[in-house]
């Protein structure tokens, strides 16, 4: 499903983060982040562990609150107004490292819960949409199973389908393949590539550099809570500017 006609001008970025700072208590996690994401853009965020990648994307759908600066998603300013937060969460899907599926609900129920209760969709329609997206991630036959009965790769694909059922305009991925056995990484990445080819706006925290090369419009390198460098994948991998970036790349691309 390609994303529907945007409500605002196509040229307007779908996410605008400006001058954003975040602290955990006294610990300054995110420092002066400025980032704008165009519609249908695919961004890969890389960086060493603890650099604030997760925190950054979690601020976008208000799983974490920021203390300074502004975040605007699809024309909605993210404040601590619950209405705005709910409005933004409806439009922003998120896939977690640990899947975070609901183990007491079947795969189908995992997918239909939010459309029924948040989008107020009739159950029948929600189920049709869920089956559509479960087919897209290639596991329609697992619809009546419980997450605990599926493999990790299958669970992560269910998680992707579950987010897609809300018809989000933006998808956030926080290391979606880090908890998977090597055999299963590919099936999840393939699903994400399909999604990218259909024009979804995606922000992906990952260390899968092959994926970054193939899909990303832009790669962002973060360290110590700051965006150190950003570039298209070609230049990012072959011609990094910053010493810190070079060091990082030499470490993860050793082989």
């Amino acid at each position: 499903m390609s994303s529907e006609a945007p409500a605002l001008n196509d040229q307007e970025p779908i996410i605008t983060i400006s001058g954003m700072n975040k602290w955990y208590g006294n610990f300054h996690v995110l420092k002066d982040i400025n980032l704008s994401v165009a519609r249908q853009e695919k961004i890969v965020i890389a960086g060493p562990s603890g650099s604030g990648k997760s925190t950054l994307i979690r601020c976008i759908n208000a799983l974490e609150e920021h203390q300074e600066g502004s975040i605007v998603v699809d024309g909605v300013q993210l404040t601590d107004n619950l209405k705005n937060i709910e409005a933004i969460r409806k439009e922003v899907g998120m896939v977690f490292q640990q899947f975070n599926l609901f183990p007491h609900l079947t795969v189908l129920e995992n997918c239909t819960l939010a459309p029924i209760w948040v989008r107020k969709m009739p159950k029948k329609e929600a189920e049709e949409i869920a089956m559509h997206f479960l087919s897209k991630v290639r596991i329609p036959e697992q619809a009546s199973k419980y997450p605990g009965q599926l493999s990790g790769g299958q669970q992560q694909r269910v998680a992707i389908a579950r987010s897609l059922c809300m018809r989000p305009r933006v998808m956030l991925f926080d290391e979606p393949t880090s908890a998977l056995d090597p055999e299963m990484i590919k099936e999840v990445l393939d699903t994400m590539i399909d999604l990218a080819n259909e024009g979804m706006t995606m922000l992906v925290v990952t260390h899968e550099m092959g994926f970054a090369r193939q899909v990303a419009d832009r790669v962002i390198f973060m360290d110590a809570g700051e965006i150190v460098e950003q570039n298209n994948p070609e230049d990012f991998f072959h011609n990094p500017q910053n010493e810190r970036t070079k060091e990082f790349l030499s470490q993860i691309l050793r082989d």
Binding site: N61, E86, Q98, F99, N100, F102, H104, G148
Partner: protein
């Protein structure tokens, strides 16, 4: 076999082998679990022996030798006494045997054996049971023996007590007006005093034949006594009503029974889903029928009214069972408490509902028909949608509809010479008196009301307190924490006293709340605090990812709690929740301390102190203990069943 190397060749998995024979099967299981080492070689037989002998004694006392006839403890007393007669027979027999034995000669030896008869000698000889008849044994020597003469005189005393018991039983006839046949034989057959005289005479005359004849007169009585000298369940049977309802007016007891049946109807359909629809309909129809019958016989409806009540109750029960589980739950949890209060305390219909005119009857009848039609239409829709035609359901619907229509509009009954429609009769009969709660409700009624209210209130309140304690809002979390810690830190009995003494002080002048209600509040609040902590444990067992997953989908706080967090947290907490339920249920016995006659209170403060049932502590407490055990065991089993049913693959 040489070292295997599968490189190069195609990999072929080795076929699995069976486990070694001596590690599987019954024999291995017994060896491994019961006779693993020297300790278990000793412990297993010893424990088995203890278990078997305890069980045997309980079984023999509580079932084999139990009595439940008669009108008071006298019957059981009689059984005990008469069975003692045979014990003395053994004493006599044994002394006889010893004295006649050729194995010892001297007076000293003889004395030794006689003295030791109360220990192992008694055991050995008594149980072996060999012995010549009285006739042979009654020699002058025996009659001179002081053991024997003591036994004889004790026997005479026992006979005197028996006589008194029998006289008492004759003076206070059985409420059933007929004595149990065995007991009747005992009471009617023997002139005890004459029998006693005959025995005495035979002894004095040293006439073995006469003694044997006099003694065998009592055989039937002794046999009856031996067969009935166990538990005296007469007390439970005769005071059953009190154990169940306390002092609820006898002629109104059907109201309690109806409430219990309604509870059963709701309980069966909510707690035991997943049965075939035929079985569900059947149980609903049966319980519905029982409800109709209980109400009718309670208010004295007959013919048309009975038919109407039966049709209505079976029909409504079936319609209720047709609803989906959410609606059934809603109706039950909102409707049942109201209906129960109405039934148990205040049953009088408001004046406004009285519609004695014919058109009122038509209006009411048509409303009933409309409701019926709505249900039928819904069911029909479901059937056509799922393409599964249910002939029995449809038949039942039609039958209920026609019957309702027929009974409402046509049947006339004769009430005190007046021709009334059955509808008018029903309304007229349902005008009942109010029942006081304090000092009237008691027994199982009080226990169950407290227990069930406590359970029904403490679960939701516990959930709210648990969520409150984890809330981000400081006021909410401080309040919840404070409440939980305070209530948990105070003994229940203090809370009950506070509820019964302090609560009235806060009420405006002239307003009174009944004692039971105050206790209910106390028990419910107390259980809620425990419940909150159990549920909080469950909440903490969930990973943060669950909330984040729900948040990221845009679910609101309450939606997240309702659909994601609570179902899982409650499921994890089932053992703890049921544990709290069981504790709460048993704690209801404390009500007797603040003057409410709950099940235990009826036993200890009403039944046992009465002269009729004195000295039956064992039976009364065993009955109460058994009752609590059975209900708690049921709860525990049900919770395990629930855990299994809710298991969804392996969870992480």
């Amino acid at each position: 076999m040489a070292d295997q190397d599968k490189t190069g060749a195609n990999f072929v998995p080795t076929p699995p082998r069976d486990a070694p024979v001596n590690t599987v099967g019954m024999g291995a299981m017994i060896k491994k679990n019961l006779f693993a080492g020297p300790v278990s070689w000793v412990a297993t037989p010893v424990l088995l022996f203890i278990i078997v002998s305890v069980l045997w004694h309980v079984f023999s006392w509580g079932l084999l030798r139990a009595t439940n006839h008669g009108a008071s403890n006298r019957t059981c007393h009689l059984a005990e006494r008469t069975s003692l007669l045979s014990q003395h027979e053994i004493t006599i027999l044994m002394a006889d045997k010893l004295l006649l034995s050729k194995s010892y000669q001297s007076q000293d030896q003889r004395q030794f054996w006689v003295d030791s008869q109360s220990t192992w000698g008694r055991f050995a000889l008594g149980t072996l049971g060999f012995g010549p008849s009285y006739g042979e044994l009654l020699t002058a020597e025996i009659m001179g023996n002081r053991e024997v003469s003591r036994a004889l005189s004790q026997r005479a005393e026992i006979l005197a007590t028996i006589n008194k018991d029998i006289e008492f039983i004759e003076r206070n006839p059985d409420p059933d007006a007929t004595l149990h046949p065995g007991l009747a034989n005992v009471v009617a057959g023997k002139d005890l005093l004459a029998g006693r005289e005959a025995l005495k005479a035979a002894v004095t005359a040293q006439d073995p034949v006469a003694f044997e004849a006099a003694r065998s007169e009592f055989d039937d009585m002794v046999h009856w006594g031996e067969a009935h000298n166990g538990a005296c369940w007469t007390v439970v049977k005769r005071r059953w009503q009190q154990f169940m309802y306390g002092f609820y007016p006898k002629e109104q007891v059907w109201r309690v029974a109806t409430t219990a049946l309604l509870l059963l109807l709701g309980g069966l359909s909510l707690l035991w889903p997943g049965r075939s629809s035929a079985s569900r309909s059947l149980s609903a129809a049966v319980v519905g029928g029982l409800i109709g019958y209980t109400v009718s016989s309670g208010v004295g409806l007959a013919s048309g009214g009975l038919l109407l009540a039966l049709a209505l109750s079976v029909g409504l029960a079936l319609l209720y069972e047709q609803l989906d589980v959410g609606k059934r739950g809603l109706i039950f949890f909102l409707g049942f408490p109201l209906v129960a209060i109405w039934l148990l305390i205040r049953f009088s219909l408001p004046q406004a509902i009285t519609l004695p005119s014919t058109w009122g009857q038509w209006v009411f009848g048509l409303i009933m028909m409309a409701i019926w039609a709505l249900f039928f239409w819904q069911s029909w829709q479901r059937q056509t949608q799922s393409h599964s035609f249910k002939p029995i359901t449809n038949l039942v619907y039609l039958a209920v509809g026609v019957l309702t229509f027929y009974v409402f509009l046509t049947v006339r009954v004769d009430v005190d010479g007046q021709q009334l429609s059955s509808f008018q009769e029903l309304l007229g009969r349902l005008r009942l008196s109010d029942v006081e709660v304090d000092n009237v409700w008691g027994g199982l009624l009080a226990t169950a009301v407290t227990g069930l209210t406590g359970i029904a209130v403490s679960l939701p309140l516990g959930v709210i307190l648990a969520l409150g304690r984890r809330s981000d809002l400081p006021i909410v979390s401080t309040f919840s924490t404070g409440f939980i810690e305070f209530v948990r830190g105070v003994p229940l009995i203090t809370i009950l006293f506070m509820a019964s003494v302090l609560l009235p002080l806060f009420l405006p002048e002239g307003v009174t709340i009944n004692k039971l209600f105050r206790a209910l509040v106390g028990v419910s609040l107390f259980a809620s605090a425990y419940m909150a902590e159990v549920i909080r444990g469950g909440l903490q067992g969930l990973s943060k990812g669950q909330t984040e997953g729900a948040d990221s989908l845009g679910l609101s706080y309450w939606q997240t709690q309702r659909f994601i967090i609570l179902p899982q947290a409650l499921k994890i907490s089932i053992p703890g929740i049921v544990n709290t339920f069981i504790g709460l249920y048993k704690d209801t016995t404390l009500l007797s301390i603040i003057g409410i006659f709950d099940l235990l209170g009826v036993g200890s403060r009403s039944v046992l102190p009465s002269l009729e049932w004195a000295r039956l502590e064992a039976e009364v407490y065993a009955f109460i203990a058994l009752f609590f055990f059975v209900s708690c065991f049921f709860m525990s089993r049900y919770s395990q069943h629930l855990e299994r049913r809710l298991a969804t693959g392996h969870e992480h």
